[in-house]
């Protein structure tokens, strides 16, 4: 085919593509996306033909320009870092959590059952706490939440609160990361960490309530607990997700399944990390604040719980 014939045959679609590009550039929207795509592919094919048939540098450059403009519109990463973060916080993270609801319920049961179970059981059978934790550990907890000592140990100086912030980030985020990473052992590792955390936290809470320290303990933990316990459940959720990809990879190799499911669970990982940093901040600077009546702490804590739960349940629905 001669160059003239080739040009005659295709000029109409090139001009149509030029008009479509002009529309996108000026009005920032595509009239007919399917048509835009088919015109773009056609230009790409024409460009390849022009090259192999040596139709000449000027025609080639002209087609290359058209194809490049189309390419840049199609493959551009439209969102900048900030709008991606805004989207993630506003919709992406809660959507990720809800999309994987089976793992969420499994993880909630794994953690919640031993947690609530131990709190209740210790009220009925107080000695049970000593079968879970060594007496020294329980004594340490008793000292921290002794109502007679209230205000002395908990409302420490700003310096000490800053120290505790660092400690909570280091300790709690590391625990959550390990809970997630251990999930790769077919989920067993996350399962273990979730149940272990449930048992230990349940035993401590149950013990302190049973000996009558509940009036200092619950107002202290209710605020940051909203973010902290939720984050632990989410870490288990993500861990179970990557573990299950090895148990039941579906129509994929196990390596491929692990790669895809891990990529898909990273939203939850970023989310629970942020939750734990918020929790550490609350635990260091809000929870130990002295002179705030327990009623206020209960009210704020309940509001935080309601906020966290409704955020995960409703944010970004219908988007």
């Amino acid at each position: 085919m001669s160059r003239g014939h080739f040009e005659k045959q295709n000029t109409r679609s090139w001009n149509a593509f030029k008009r479509a590009l002009f529309d996108v550039d000026r009005r920032k929207r595509v009239g007919d996306a399917a048509e835009f795509l088919s015109l773009y592919r056609r230009v790409c094919q024409n460009l390849a033909l022009a090259r192999t048939r040596h139709y000449g540098a000027d025609l080639e450059a002209q087609l290359n320009r058209l194809a490049l403009r189309g390419h840049q519109h199609l493959y551009a990463r439209r969102m900048g870092v900030w709008s991606r973060i805004v989207h993630f916080v506003g919709a992406g993270f809660p959507q990720d959590v809800r999309r994987n609801h089976a793992y969420l319920w499994a993880s909630l049961i794994l953690f919640g059952l031993p947690f609530v179970g131990f709190i209740v059981a210790i009220q009925l059978q107080p000695d049970l706490a000593y079968s879970v934790l060594p007496p020294e550990a329980l004594r340490g907890m008793e000292q921290m939440y002794d109502p007679a000592q209230a205000g002395k140990t908990m409302g420490a100086s700003v310096d000490e609160r800053a120290y505790m912030f660092g400690f909570y980030v280091y300790n709690n985020v590391s625990i959550a990361f390990r809970t997630f990473a251990a999930g790769i052992a077919c989920g067993v590792g996350s399962l273990y960490f979730a149940a272990y955390n449930g048992v230990v936290l349940g035993a401590v809470s149950g013990h302190l309530t049973q000996i009558g320290y509940g009036e200092t303990f619950w107002p202290f933990v209710i605020g940051h607990g909203s973010f902290e316990l939720t984050a632990l459940v989410l870490a288990t959720q993500a861990g179970l997700k990557i573990g299950w990809s090895l148990v039941a990879p579906g129509q994929r190799t196990r390596g491929r399944a692990l790669l895809e499911e891990t990529k898909d669970s990273m939203g939850i990982v970023y989310g629970f990390t942020a939750f734990l940093v918020i929790a550490a901040f609350l635990e260091a600077f809000w929870s130990p604040w002295p002179f705030i009546p327990p009623a206020v702490k209960y009210a704020v804590g309940s509001a935080l719980w309601a906020g966290v739960i409704s955020y995960l349940a409703f944010a970004g629905r219908g988007q």
Binding site: S157, V158, D159, E160, A162, Y163, M164, F165, G166, F167, V169, Y170, V173, S174, F177, R178, F180, A181, A182, G183, I184, A185, G189, I242, G255, L258, L259, T262, K263, M266, V269
Partner: protein, 231 residues
């Protein structure tokens, strides 16, 4: 990435343009050494920081714990992403972390592979990681499989070898492409052997060269020169 048919660490990656690129994956030993170097560097940072932060009292202790947290989980991430795929330890051993498709590692893949470092560490001293590396075909620990990454040797500029100068000699029989390439490779690597080893190798070609020892080696080089077009 294609599985290797032969026992080799050379892996081919196809680019969207239809060209194949080769990378050489790194095994457990250099990676362990790199890890050790990084560990030492982290320890030095921690010691220096703890001395400096000691002046700030309890708040300094909190900052130290934050540093410890960042160091233990994100030290490799920061270096791998911001310093073209290598922590200082990897840099020292000429290693680099790449995506499976040969592009430099990005944030999300690097975070995955380093979070899962904890799982690879289990049950002790990277036991699972080592097992995974030995079975995966491309020395991938679990973190590499999940993140879609591979640790390879950094491509280094190699100096162009000068071929030994010998008069060209036409082979007395037709040679297949592979045989021709073997002869050319022999000439290219001739420099790196002792004359005795070079002769020993060319003795394998006695059927082709019709001579042994130094004479056979010289004839093999001559054929390589002839194949390269010095006629």
């Amino acid at each position: 990435m294609a599985e290797a048919d032969v026992l080799d660490t050379y892996r081919r990656v196809e680019t969207p343009e239809g060209v194949e690129l080769g990378i050489r994956v790194a095994g457990p030993i250099p990676r362990a050494m790199a890890w050790l170097v990084d560990l030492l560097i982290r320890i030095v940072i921690y010691v220096v920081a703890s001395i400096a932060l000691a002046f700030l009292g309890a708040a300094g202790g909190g900052m130290f714990l934050l540093l410890l947290f960042l160091g233990e989980w994100f030290y490799p991430v920061l270096f791998e992403v911001l310093r073209r795929g290598a922590t200082p330890g990897k840099e020292a051993f000429g290693l680099v972390v790449l995506h499976d498709d040969g592009t430099p590692v990005g944030w999300s893949a690097s975070i995955v592979r380093n979070l899962l470092l904890f799982a690879d560490f289990m049950p002790f001293m990277y036991g699972f990681g080592l097992l995974s590396m030995l079975f995966s075909g491309s020395f991938k620990r679990f973190g590499d499989i999940a993140g879609g990454t591979v640790v390879a040797y950094r491509e280094r500029e190699t100096r162009k070898r000068k071929l030994p100068e010998v008069p060209p000699l036409a082979p007395n029989m037709p040679l297949s492409t592979e045989e021709q390439m073997a002869l050319i490779a022999y000439a290219e690597r001739f420099d790196s052997w002792t004359p005795a080893r070079a002769a020993e190798l060319s003795d394998l070609l006695r059927g082709l060269t019709g001579a042994s020892g130094e004479e056979g080696s010289k004839r093999a080089l001559g054929m390589a020169a002839w194949l390269l077009g010095n006629r």
